[in-house]
Amino acid sequence: MRRAVIAEDSVLLRMGLVKVVEMAGFEVAAEAGDAEGLLAAVEEHRPDLAVIDVRMPPGFTDEGVRAALSIRRSRPSTALLLLSQYVEERYAADLLAAHTSGVGYLLKQRVADVEEFIEALRRVADGGTALDPQVVAQLLVRRSNDPLERLTAREKEVLSLMAEGRSNAGIAAQLVVSESAVAKHINSILAKLDLPKADADHRRVLAVLRFLGVGA
């Protein structure tokens, strides 16, 4: 059974998170109320997944992100899912710049959609990504005069969903189109973004990174 560590300062919410993480099939190895406790728990239990609140004591600013970056360096195999009160693309960019897989960044209120949250937990633990649609929307605001401008509205939608970490089947379900249509859109996106030749999965990651404005 895969193991998880949860860092969240609100006791009430932490109890709920423990339940959902267990529902997703993880064993909750430890719970922490601040960044220090989280780092100690990760060192001690070496979990597969850490669910981290961005705003924690003592400063209530970005303690969670800094702790996550430190875990990325010391234990790169630990998947990280950050929960934030509000979206800040710089946090997401910092995380993705460190490593591109096994990362999630969701608005805190998404935990209420239990099924989707469980899916995101599993996806991140499997090495995928889970980005909040709002992060993605916020990143689009920034882009101008770059290859992304060449994408059609539908292609941008597809790329956003790719960035959120969804599979082709997931994207097709979300947009209510066939999977082959999604594949066609993705090919068109990869062509328009002038990505270097590489295997399909890697090019997909590169497209997402370009979309997010980090790396590549």
């Binding site: 339940k19 959902v20 935990v111 099924e115 709002q134 916020q138 605001v141 920034r142």
Partner: protein, 422 residues
């Protein structure tokens, strides 16, 4: 003081005549004592400069005449003392007015030295002389009115030799009493004259008063703006860390119930699902309320980050260009954020057929310029709609300027300049 006197009379009128006369007498004596001490204190203060000046003139005479070798040195000392006396005397005068008459003369300090000097040498001479005369009338009047008494202290041989003077002593006493009787009204008149003239001559001019007032108002308004910002921050933190966490936890628990309690009767499931939906909507509403107040991201990461959040949530595509090498002061950031937030809400609500909006934030020297443009059909009127009025008010509260151009047919452009010296 004069006004309190009049209602005291009305109040004591209910008591007997005797009481009335006694209180009146006591009041008259108190006032006389006050006026007399005011004038007695004023005379030396007013006459000091003119006496120093006469010493200066005398010494100058000596220097020109070459009478004394030490004259130039003494002259220098006296001139220096005179110069330093001027602000000190102004302070002393304002103390005298405040202490004895309750009139506040704002101290000019070292400002307007020529005017102060002119007051102490010219007006001071006039007032000082009048004060000295009125004050001197008291001992003179007393001495003269008591002629019939002290005349008996003179050796009787002399009195007999000049017997005619005995009757004249009576006349003198009457004259002395008349002089004494004239002292209170004269003193009161002089005090009134001084209290009306001196504050204008010695105090700050109207311009200076206005300048000071503008300074005070600017300061107090900045304080009010800061206090309101701090309050918004506090409310934001409280809502974030309190109500919102609880709501998220509630929604999470309802979500867990919805996902796990699969064998419930359909009605019960319906209730849980409705509650779950409600809780999620409440979270959304609360977040948008908090964002409208003062988002935490604004404090932590600045205007650029906060604005990109706003732009991302806007219901139409927004292109944001923010060029901010340095962070503006917090109050200005808050206003700029509010401007963009309101403007985008306005565009979404009212701009007809707007398909996109552009937000540009640039720093031009000491000015932060925020421009919001949309490609709608225009015709927006800043006079109508509380959104734009509130926006303009908040911009004015930090001395910013608000311009709007929205010709019928579009496009609409709103430009806000906010001062940011830091």
């Amino acid at each position: 003081m004069r006004t309190t006197g009049s209602w005291q009379t009305a109040e004591t009128g209910a008591y007997g005549e005797g009481m009335k006369i006694r209180t009146r007498l006591r009041r008259a004596l108190t006032r006389l004592a006050r006026d007399a001490s005011f004038l007695a204190l004023g005379a030396p203060l007013h006459l000091l400069v003119v006496s120093l000046l006469s010493v200066v003139v005398g010494l100058l005479w000596g220097v020109i005449g070459g009478a004394d070798d030490s004259a130039p040195i003494v002259l220098g000392i006296v001139v220096v003392v005179t110069v330093f006396c001027v602000p000190a005397l102004t302070v002393a005068q304002s103390w005298r007015f405040r202490r004895l008459l309750g009139i506040d003369i704002p101290r000019p300090g070292w400002r307007r030295p020529l005017r102060q000097f002119a007051y102490h040498s010219l007006a001071g001479t006039l007032f000082g002389t009048l004060e000295a005369v009125v004050v001197a009338l008291i001992p003179v009047g007393l001495a003269v009115s008591l002629t019939t008494v002290w005349v008996y202290a003179i050796p009787w041989e002399w009195r007999i030799k000049h017997s005619g003077y005995s009757t004249q002593a009576a006349y003198l006493s009457v004259a002395g009493l008349l002089v004494l009787a004239a002292v209170p009204p004269l003193a009161a008149a002089l005090v009134r004259l001084e209290s009306q003239v001196v504050p204008t001559l010695l105090g700050r001019s109207r311009e200076e008063d206005l300048a000071r007032r503008v300074e005070d108002l600017t300061e107090s308004r900045a304080g009010a703006v800061d206090a309101a910002d701090a309050e918004r921050r506090r409310i934001e933190r409280d809502l974030h860390d309190g109500a919102q966490q609880r709501l998220v936890s509630l929604a999470l628990n309802l979500g867990i119930a919805k996902a796990t309690l699969l064998d419930l009767p359909p009605e019960a499931r319906g209730v849980i699902e409705a509650a779950h939906r409600e809780a999620k909507e409440a979270i959304e509403e609360l977040s948008s309320l908090v964002r409208g107040l003062h988002p935490a991201v604004l404090d932590e990461l600045g205007l650029d980050a906060a604005l990109s959040g706003l732009a991302a949530r806007a219901p139409l595509p927004v292109r944001l260009r923010a060029d901010l090498p340095r962070r503006p002061p917090p109050a200005i950031e808050a206003v700029a954020y509010f401007v963009v937030s309101e403007a985008l809400t306005n565009v979404a609500k009212h701009a007809r057929e707007a398909t996109r909006a552009d937000v540009t934030v640039t720093r031009l020297g000491g000015i932060l310029r925020v421009v919001i443009a949309d490609d709608g059909l225009g015709g927006a009127d800043p006079g109508k709609g509380s959104g734009l009025t509130g926006l303009a008010q908040r911009v004015r509260s930090v001395d910013g300027t608000f311009r709007m151009s929205s010709p019928v047919g579009g496009p609409t452009m709103m430009s806000v300049d906010l001062p940011c010296q830091n």
